[in-house]
């Protein structure tokens, strides 16, 4: 390290200074570290001072010398620079120095904070000055430019002031340290220097005070010192100008080191954002929730969203959303909540009725068990991403909590046959079921929703019996889920057979309001026409996304048949996402089926056979069927349509949209990803937004 210091030191002797002194030689990790916090600061300040001087040189050609004192940061009023016009004498400089200091001190007094901080800085400056003086004098002689940098003047000035304060016993010690300091490689606050531990007068923190202690000065820690400096500098307009100049020409911003709670030093890039500051404050004072005042449920929910978006929902901030009076706990990102944090939910909010945890990857069987046992009021459960929970754990959970559950939604979990069987057995009151993207969910599980065929009864009973292996309890015979109104089995990972689906829909279809069979690639026309069609009286939301085995004719027939029954008041939401094979006729039939009720239509990628005629059906251009009275409502199209997804339906053009918009007065959102014909001139109106237009991308 010494080698490097010397290298740097010699480099800095170059009177031109500045960018020329790049560090040469090997870098140890320590060197880099020092460079980061120590040396770089020095260079930065020096460069800034030089820049300030260079800028001031526009008024008068003053070149800053390399002997610039380290302590002279940007706050130094360059008034001293400008005032140095021509006056070369050290006395004048000294007088000016004293004047400056007095000014600073006076300003400090005004700002109400003592002068000791100033004095501390002065002291430090003085230390610099002693050593700086001999070198700068050489430099000054070497330089041809007139006027002198602050450093030289101050060095000389300080040199004169110094002996007054020095005590003999310490002088040598300090001098040698100053020499060490003078080597530009070393940070002023290097541990080698030594000093005394003092307590700050303002904040009572202990800090290491370098150098001498002047009895008459107030003793302030570096943080308080800096605040005072800043406060003092706000008084001086000139310094502001210099800062503006300096900052515009300064070297690239160095990152500040921040000590985190772990004691690790963390590099902080720039200023913390207001969101960061708020979250930090909240996290620190989570226990004093009362001091936050009354928060409405919506605000709390919004807060939770924000905190989860910033990925800072963890043990400390969790407390904000729990409490004995909370009936609903909805957390959007539980990645940082470990097992014990999740179990805290049970401890702190035992009365929850709604529990929704997304990204709860760390939730395991034990936690689920705690939920089942501890949350006696649990009625609605939504767990996404609980992949550690396996089949048996679910079954156990249903045994405990099943009878209470009214809504159960799970995604990406180990939900399999045993769990399904337990669900069927225990959750009689279930109204809403969603099992989506679970790798163990197989055709048998699907089959359990319908009455078991005699030959498979035993097989279905098997998982349940296995679970009850310790007790010889009679396995409850199958019962249908009589209250089920909403069934979502979207995107299963294993193949689902059409026959099973047909059976299920025959059993449950009539009671369902919401049905989502996205990703059931194998369900075919029979399912639709023989299974769903007769059993969809109450169906309001239907999703047959990716059901590519259903032909367009069958789809048309399904809607056409249903139109008589529904009289236009059919579905509220329909998704035919990625059903590539559908034709115009399907859309016409859809309009006839649900024109008066349809609010949301998803035709993403229904592109192969779709033409403008099909889309115009939405605008009232439905082709009348031969011999049939065209209902007047149909002619108008879908007036209640609010959002439509026409992504990748390449026949969508501006003119089609115009007609559709005319007919659909309530349309708010139109998704048109991948529609090259939709241009910037597509018709708009207040309240309508296009998502995914090619011209909207930056």
């Amino acid at each position: 390290m010494d080698l490097n210091d010397r290298a740097r030191g010699s480099g800095s002797r170059n009177p031109c200074g500045g960018a020329g002194n790049t560090i040469k030689g090997p870098h140890s990790a320590l060197t880099d570290y020092l460079q980061e916090i120590g040396v770089s600061r020095h260079f930065r300040e020096r460069r800034r001072a030089e820049a300030a001087a260079a800028a001031a040189a526009a008024a008068e050609p003053t070149a800053a010398t390399q002997g610039q004192v380290q302590a002279q940061g940007p706050e130094q009023p360059p008034a001293s620079n400008q005032g140095e016009l021509g006056a070369d004498s050290a006395d004048a400089a000294l007088a000016r120095d004293l004047q400056d200091e007095e000014n600073e001190e006076a300003a400090l007094e005004e700002s109400g904070v003592g002068t000791s901080r100033m004095a501390t800085r002065n002291r430090n400056r003085q230390h610099m000055a002693v050593v700086v003086a001999p070198i700068t004098e050489e430099a000054v002689e070497a330089e041809s430019s007139k006027g002198k940098g602050k450093g030289a003047a101050r060095g000389k000035g300080r040199g004169k002031k110094k002996p007054k304060k020095d005590s003999d016993s310490e002088s040598d010690f300090h001098k040698s340290d100053d020499e060490a300091n003078q080597r530009e490689g070393l940070n002023r606050s290097s541990a080698r220097k030594g000093g005394h531990m003092r307590s700050c007068e303002v904040c009572n923190k202990r800090f290491l005070q370098r150098g001498e202690y002047d009895e008459s000065d107030r003793l302030l820690c570096p943080n308080c010192q800096r605040s005072v400096d800043k406060a003092q500098n706000e008084v001086s307009a000139v310094s502001k100008r210099a800062r503006a100049v300096a900052s515009s020409t300064a070297a690239p911003k160095r990152r500040r080191l921040k000590k985190t709670a772990d004691g690790l030093l963390e590099l902080e890039a720039g200023l913390p954002s207001l969101q960061d500051l708020c979250v930090r404050a909240i996290a620190k004072h989570v226990d004093q929730v009362e001091s936050f005042g009354d928060i409405s449920v919506q605000s709390l929910n919004k807060l939770c969203r924000i905190i989860c978006k910033m990925r800072v929902l963890d043990e400390s901030t969790l407390g904000l959303f729990l409490g004995a009076d909370r009936t609903s706990v909805v957390l959007y990102d539980c990645t940082r909540l470990a097992r014990n944090a999740l179990e805290r939910i049970v401890e702190m909010s035992p009365n929850v009725q709604t529990l929704a945890l997304e990204y709860c990857g760390r939730l395991d069987a034990g936690v689920l068990d705690a939920f089942g046992v501890g949350l006696r009021q649990l009625a609605k459960v939504q767990l996404e991403g609980a992949f550690l929970v396996d089949d048996k754990a679910w079954a156990k959970f249903f045994r405990e909590a099943g009878p209470r559950l009214r809504s159960f939604q799970v995604r990406f979990s180990g939900f399999g046959p045993a769990a399904m069987r337990a669900l069927i057995t225990h959750c009689e009151g279930l109204e809403e079921l969603r099992v989506s993207e679970c790798t163990d969910f197989n055709d048998d599980c699907l089959g359990m929703l319908a009455a078991p065929l005699t030959e498979t009864e035993e097989a279905l009973q098997e998982p349940e019996r296995l679970l009850r292996d310790t007790e010889k309890i009679e396995v409850v015979p199958w019962r249908p889920l009589a209250r089920l109104k909403s069934l979502d089995l979207g995107h299963p990972h294993l193949a689902m057979s059409s026959a099973t689906a047909t059976r299920v829909i025959r059993a449950l279809g009539s009671q369902l309001r919401v049905l989502n069979l996205s990703g059931f690639k194998d369900v075919d026309d029979n399912f639709l026409l023989l299974g769903l069609a007769p059993h969809s009286e109450h169906l309001q939301e239907l999703s047959l996304a990716e059901c590519n085995s259903i032909s367009a004719e069958a789809m048309t027939q399904f809607f056409a048949q249903g139109a008589d029954a529904t009289m236009g008041r059919g579905l509220v939401r329909l998704s035919l996402n990625r059903c590539y094979l559908l034709t115009d006729a399907v859309l016409h039939a859809v309009v006839r089926h649900s024109c008066c009720s349809l609010r949301s239509l998803d035709l993403n990628s229904v592109d192969d056979f779709m033409t403008e005629q099909g889309l115009l059906a939405l605008a009232g251009g439905a082709l009348p069927v031969e011999g049939e009275e065209v209902a007047s409502s149909v002619v108008k199209g879908c007036p209640y349509l609010e959002d439509i997804d026409l992504s990748w339906v390449r026949c969508t053009t501006d003119s089609v949209l115009e007609k559709v918009l005319e007919a659909c007065g309530r349309l708010e959102k139109v998704m048109v990803y991948g529609c090259p014909e939709v241009s910037i001139f597509a018709p708009t109106r207040p309240g309508l937004s296009y998502v995914g237009r090619v011209c909207d991308t930056l």
Binding site: R41, R256, S273, C278, A281, S291
Partner: protein, 102 residues
């Protein structure tokens, strides 16, 4: 072309600040942007209403924007004072900060 912008809080307080300062919030910047597409009303009138943000909170936000304007460009990051606010404000301030993305 004025260089100040008026921020109106939900409870009727008005804050007039420099445009350069206000544009430290990307949300506000986009509202005042006239470069591409159509200009929003806010850009034409130089007045932005925040019906969901209270006066106290908006005041703190303005202070933060000034704080950011002052210290963000500066090189010596180790002399920047802390930005303080009351704990009672912190929740609402978080929501406002999230909306303004600052």
């Amino acid at each position: 072309m004025s260089t100040t912008v008026k921020l109106v809080s939900g409870d009727g307080f008005t804050f007039v600040i420099d445009k350069h300062v206000a544009e430290h919030s990307p949300t506000i910047k986009n509202m005042l942007d006239v470069s591409h597409g159509g200009a929003f009303t806010e850009a034409l009138t130089n007045e932005i209403k925040f019906p969901e943000i209270k006066g106290k909170v908006l005041e703190k936000v303005c202070q933060y924007l000034h704080y950011k304007h002052r210290y963000a460009a500066e090189g010596s990051t180790d002399r920047v004072p802390d930005f303080n606010f009351d704990l009672e404000l912190s929740l609402e301030l978080l929501m406002a900060a999230d909306y303004l993305d600052c």
